[in-house]
């Protein structure tokens, strides 16, 4: 089956994103496809390449990057929610003349239409809320 996950919690602030990650891994292990990961609300923070947890802690943003790369997953960060919370790619950095950008490789900034699209094209859309 095709699964899409809507992730609304920031890493470290709640378990939502961790639960979503473990679910994604388990779904893949059962032979399912992850159609899209959609990061919205505080979930956008999962896509930051500046997250620097202590070495003995779970580096969730890094694990997302790895999973997205090895499984070729479409990982979308809602652009409005991302900009508001300081998640920018190079394009938005230029557009708003900001000092940096921090969107992790493998993620794209896009609109809420991608969440709707995930709903219409997946067999299951599951929300992981904080």
């Amino acid at each position: 089956m095709k699964y899409s996950l809507a992730i609304y919690g920031a890493p470290y602030s709640s378990q939502a994103a961790d639960t979503a990650f473990s679910f994604a891994e388990a779904a893949i292990a059962r032979g399912h496809e992850i159609y899209r990961l959609f990061f919205y609300l505080d979930g956008v923070h999962n896509a930051s390449n500046l997250a620097t947890p202590p070495q003995d802690e779970n580096d969730l943003p890094a694990r997302w990057r790895e999973l997205i790369k090895t499984q070729n997953i479409d990982a979308v960060v809602c652009i409005a929610a991302g900009l508001r919370r300081g998640l920018l790619d190079e394009v938005e950095q230029q557009r708003y003349e900001k000092t940096g950008n921090n969107l992790s490789e493998g993620f794209t900034l896009s609109g809420l239409g991608q969440l709707i699209d995930a709903g219409t094209h997946s067999d299951r859309l599951i929300t992981f809320g904080a």
Binding site: Q15, A26, A27, R30
Partner: protein, 99 residues
């Protein structure tokens, strides 16, 4: 039929209470994250015998283990791993997430 997931502790947040008000018989309820405290055997917990007679109630093992609850589970609640979580989502048409 719906799989309901609840992730908040029942005494801290009304999510489980609302879920139980809405969940139809034959829907399943999966307790995850802080909601696994509701899976413990307490005298006046929300997961009553009546609830268990209407719904299959599951609790996520990694969350129970994290919180030191594995020896305190109310009889009648089934324990699952993430693999079981995925399996439940296969069996039900949609997932209603209460948080």
């Amino acid at each position: 039929m719906i799989l309901h997931t609840v992730n908040k502790s029942p005494l801290q947040n009304n999510s489980l209470d609302s879920c139980l008000r809405i969940a139809q018989p034959d829907c399943a309820i999966l307790l995850i994250e802080d909601a696994v405290y509701a899976a413990t055997d307490t005298a006046n917990g929300l997961i009553s015998e009546q609830v268990l007679s209407l719904h299959k109630v599951y609790a996520l093992i990694p969350d129970l283990k994290a919180r030191g609850l594995l020896e305190r589970i109310k009889p009648g609640i089934e324990l699952v791993n993430y693999d079981g979580f995925v399996t439940l989502t296969e069996q039900f048409d949609s997932v209603q997430s209460w948080y």
